[in-house]
């Protein structure tokens, strides 16, 4: 018989090993599904790997997909550090996309346009995140529920916009007018889609780490999240910290939308995000809420998404496998986290 025993300390290597173990377990579990779909497991994973990270073009595609998840992953990681349960990164992303698209459609010099798009997108995301945090701070409304439900509100508001005032008058498709060409983010490597926003994402991640680890705001966020009572007793204005955290988190999620509009789609449509906001939760958990860990975690999920499509084409396994891998990875990580606090001990058979 086995049972869990509380740990007195957690070995340091655990922090690095846990996500890797969780991913390994995920791939093993999902290999059963591949086999059921009638494909070779090794072959299928091989195709996924080569299609996502096999050559330089594949790598740039994976990075382009990783960028929005880096932003949403950071948004979730910072919010969860303060125990502000922001499940609304998806809605905040969409709000950021709409706002940046509106700004990008106005003719003005390119650099100015990109800057204003980023500001508008971040502000829009922040405003959306303000709703659940104010409801929680003022009325003790559960932030999980309010931030989650707000996603649908934002999504349908976006739909109303592109089906109504923004509808393409030539084609009749529910897509917004494109942003100005000058506002398109510059491509960094000729012949790829690797745009400026990807680099910004890679720079913002260490900045977020610095904020959490080295600033007084970061200290207050950490303390508030771990023990709000002790934070209040220690003179920290817990409500203000929660509001700051929500604004920051929403702004980061909003930037994910800005990158998609400015660097990938150049307009807004109903499927601009395939759930990047929700993937951000998986990313943040795999990263154990560490902003630096968000980058590799987002790249992993992006590789799974890019690779799954190629695998589907090559082996006939449905691309939905990518969603299963994401979900399984989250569950595996949550189980793995248990082992930071507990260890399994073998005990003799009970009488």
């Amino acid at each position: 018989m086995f049972r869990l025993e509380a740990r007195t300390s957690t070995p340091a290597w655990f922090n690095l090993a846990l996500p890797l173990i969780a991913i390994a377990v995920t791939l093993v579990l999902c290999s059963g599904l591949i086999a059921m779909a009638g494909a070779g497991v090794i072959e299928a994973y091989g195709v996924m790997l080569s299609a996502s990270l096999g050559d330089s073009y594949a790598i740039t595609e994976t990075l382009v997909r990783a960028a929005p998840m880096i932003f949403t992953g950071l948004a979730v990681a910072i919010a969860f550090r303060a125990k502000f349960w922001n499940i609304g990164a998806e809605g905040q992303l969409l709000a950021g996309a709409v706002a940046s698209c509106a700004v990008g459609a106005i003719p003005m010099p390119g650099t100015l346009a990109m800057l204003l798009m980023a500001l508008a997108g971040a502000a829009a995301g922040a405003i959306v995140a303000l709703v659940p945090v104010m409801l929680r701070v003022k009325f003790k409304v559960d932030d999980v529920v309010s931030s989650l439900l707000l996603n649908s509100v934002i999504y349908y508001a976006l739909m109303a916009l592109i089906e109504g005032p923004w509808k393409d008058s030539f084609s009749g498709y529910p897509i917004s007018p494109p942003i100005e060409d000058s506002a398109n983010f510059p491509v960094l490597i000729e012949g790829t889609r690797l745009h400026l926003g990807v680099i910004v994402a890679l720079i913002v991640a260490p900045l977020c780490w610095f904020l959490i680890a080295r600033t007084t705001l970061g200290f207050r966020i950490r303390v508030t999240g771990e023990n709000a009572e002790a934070a209040r007793y220690g003179g920290i204005n817990v409500q203000r910290v929660l509001i700051s955290t929500a604004l920051l988190s929403g702004a980061l999620a909003g930037l994910a939308g800005v990158g998609e509009v400015g660097g990938v789609h150049f307009q807004v449509m109903s499927d601009i995000s395939p759930g990047y906001g929700y993937s951000g939760i998986v990313v943040a958990m795999l990263a154990r809420l560490n902003p630096l860990g968000v980058v590799p975690a987002a790249i992993f999920l992006a590789a799974v998404m890019t690779g799954a499509e190629a695998m589907s084409r090559a082996t006939g396994v449905p691309a939905f496998l990518s969603d299963v891998i994401q979900g399984t990875a989250l569950l595996a990580m949550l189980v793995a986290l248990l082992f930071t606090a507990y260890r399994v001990r073998r005990v003799g058979a009970t009488t």
Binding site: M1, R3, E5, T8, S9, R214, T215, T216, L217, G218, F219, R220, R222, V223, E226, N227, E229, A230, A231, R232, Y233, G234, G235, I236, R345, V347, G348, T350, T351
Partner: protein, 527 residues
């Protein structure tokens, strides 16, 4: 529980054993032989032998971290020992979990209760006990509850929800629960830490009655006067080993026992005569509302520089609200407060701290520290925005670390270093850390609640000495406490709280345990 008739609610302990005058005559009920348990490199228990006879109350003494709780967790099946065996009535038994322990007749009352607050007393008793064909045996449970109540004087209304019970009543329910499940041996882990003095007497009477009927009891405590009053025999642990055994606790002095526990003599500190200065903290007509617990009603008090004011009272008479008002957590509804002559305009922890107030909360683990973060973080928490630890919003990790390291050294806080998780420290070391973080900034006034609750003698002595040293330096100190002997030793004046009011204030020369005890029940007022 398997194999026992009546779904496991029969009464298995042997009432027929001959017990006279509380002295046990028969073979051990429980025997632990050579118990060794290590956590990593730390040997929490090393070759510990211990036995309890039917009808015997055994005291298990030791400082925090001496291995008392580990040993009892081994006995109750929470940990598997690395070596050693456990015998119940002479037969070796394997105890892997609490169900095994209960089946072997071992019941434990933990420091933190395990009760379902929304369920009633009876429902809590019946949790996990299957009646006939899966139905809940309410009638049988009621009969057993009545029987236990009659036998040991442990009455409780079966239909009251647990959430309305007082702490003492909840503890009684835990004891009844253990008896209900057929415990022959009852382990009580620091049961008096949560009780008011009057409740302690009731508990002791019940325990004596149970022992008189053949139960074995292990009483864990580090309050020596209680151990001397209650137990028949004591085992003293130090650093995981048996440091000594006391065969006649009643005729052994507290000093001798303390020496066994600590390994050296403990000299109580003396409160030197002093001339107090001007009032450093004044409360005038403070009333509160909108707060869980008893509100304050027109409370006025003051403490002078170089003076220690004690606040005595049965817990729940407004002490919590008083501590919260003074520490800035609860703005009063009426009345004013002044620190060093300056009237407090805004009640917030930050404002009061800036005025020179130091604070040590009642609950160190939930209010004082952040258990999951490094100790250093908790030590700088109240001053994180100040010049000392940050500049322009950026933390100064070197300064934070240096501060924590200096305090760890100055206060002899036993820990692997400033970056260790605060929750890994023992209660005494946590209290030292909290004291260090306040005293490092020379407060003019210090408000502390239950400063030595749950601490062992050595740690408590250390805290007392620090208070007296601060008093000598001219700090005004308010100590909210329930341990009257501690208050009489430390304080120059003692105010008694009753139902949210100050029932009276005595100078320590006029005060005695008996007189304070009377005032605590509201019987005597004294200005």
């Amino acid at each position: 529980m398997a194999g026992r008739p009546e779904g496991g609610i029969a009464l298995p302990f042997a009432v027929s054993r001959i017990v006279s005058e509380g002295v046990p005559l028969s073979a051990p009920l429980i025997e632990m032989r050579g118990i060794t348990k290590s956590f990593g490199a730390v040997k929490a228990n090393e070759a510990v032998d211990l036995s309890v006879a039917p009808g015997e109350i055994l005291g298990l003494l030791g400082e925090n971290g001496a291995g008392k709780t580990t040993l009892m967790n081994v006995l109750f099946g929470a940990y598997a020992p690395d070596a050693g065996e456990i015998l119940v009535e002479g037969r070796p038994v394997a105890i892997h979990n609490s169900a095994d322990a209960l089946a072997a007749g071992i019941g434990m009352v933990h420091q933190h209760f395990h009760l379902a607050p929304r369920l009633t007393v009876l429902e809590n008793l019946l949790i996990g006990i299957a009646g006939k064909s899966g139905r809940i045996d309410r009638a049988g449970g009621l009969a057993r509850l009545k029987e236990i109540g009659r036998q040991h004087g442990l009455g409780l209304d079966p239909d009251l929800p647990v959430s309305v019970l007082s702490v003492g009543e909840q503890q009684r329910l835990e004891i009844i629960k253990a008896l209900f499940r057929g415990a022959k041996l009852l382990i009580l882990d620091e049961p008096t830490a949560v009780l008011a003095p009057s409740e302690v007497d009731g508990l002791f009477a019940a325990l004596r009655s149970m022992a008189g009927q053949g139960l074995g009891i292990i009483f864990i405590s580090h309050k020596l006067n209680e151990v001397r009053a209650l137990t028949h025999r004591c085992v003293v642990l130090r650093h995981g080993k048996v440091a000594g055994r006391v065969d006649h606790p009643a005729s052994t002095t507290s000093a001798e026992m303390a020496k066994l526990m600590c390994g050296h003599e403990i000299v109580p500190p003396t409160r030197e005569a002093s001339t107090p200065g001007a009032a450093v903290l004044t409360l005038d007509g403070i009333s509160t509302s909108g707060h869980a617990g008893t509100p304050l009603r027109d409370v006025s008090l003051f403490v002078r520089a170089g003076q220690i004011l004690g606040i005595a009272g049965v817990s729940g008479n407004g002490q919590r609200a008083l501590a919260d008002v003074i520490s800035g957590m609860l703005p009063p509804q009426a009345g004013t407060m002044a620190i060093a002559g300056k009237t407090v305009a805004q009640f917030s922890p930050r404002e009061l701290q800036a005025l020179g107030l130091g604070r040590i909360p009642e609950d160190r683990m939930t209010t004082g520290l952040v258990t999951n973060l490094p100790l250093a973080d908790s030590m700088v928490l109240p001053r994180i925005g100040t010049e000392a630890f940050s500049r322009k919003g950026l933390l100064d990790p070197a300064a934070i670390r240096a501060f924590a390291e200096a305090q760890i050294k100055a206060y002899d806080i036993r820990c692997p270093g400033p970056m260790v998780r605060a929750g890994a420290l023992s209660g005494g070391n946590l209290q030292k850390a909290l004291l260090a973080r306040e005293l490092a900034f020379d407060p003019k006034v210090l408000i502390v609640s239950q400063p030595t609750r749950g601490l062992d003698i050595g740690a408590a002595r250390f805290i007392h000495e620090k208070f007296l040293a601060m008093r000598a330096k001219g700090c005004g100190i308010i100590v909210i406490g329930e341990d009257l002997e501690e208050l009489l030793m430390l304080c120059d004046r003692i105010a008694v709280m009753y139902e949210g009011r100050i029932a009276g204030t005595l100078s320590s020369a006029d005060a005695s345990v008996a007189r304070l005890g009377l005032m605590m029940t509201g019987a005597e007022g004294h200005a």
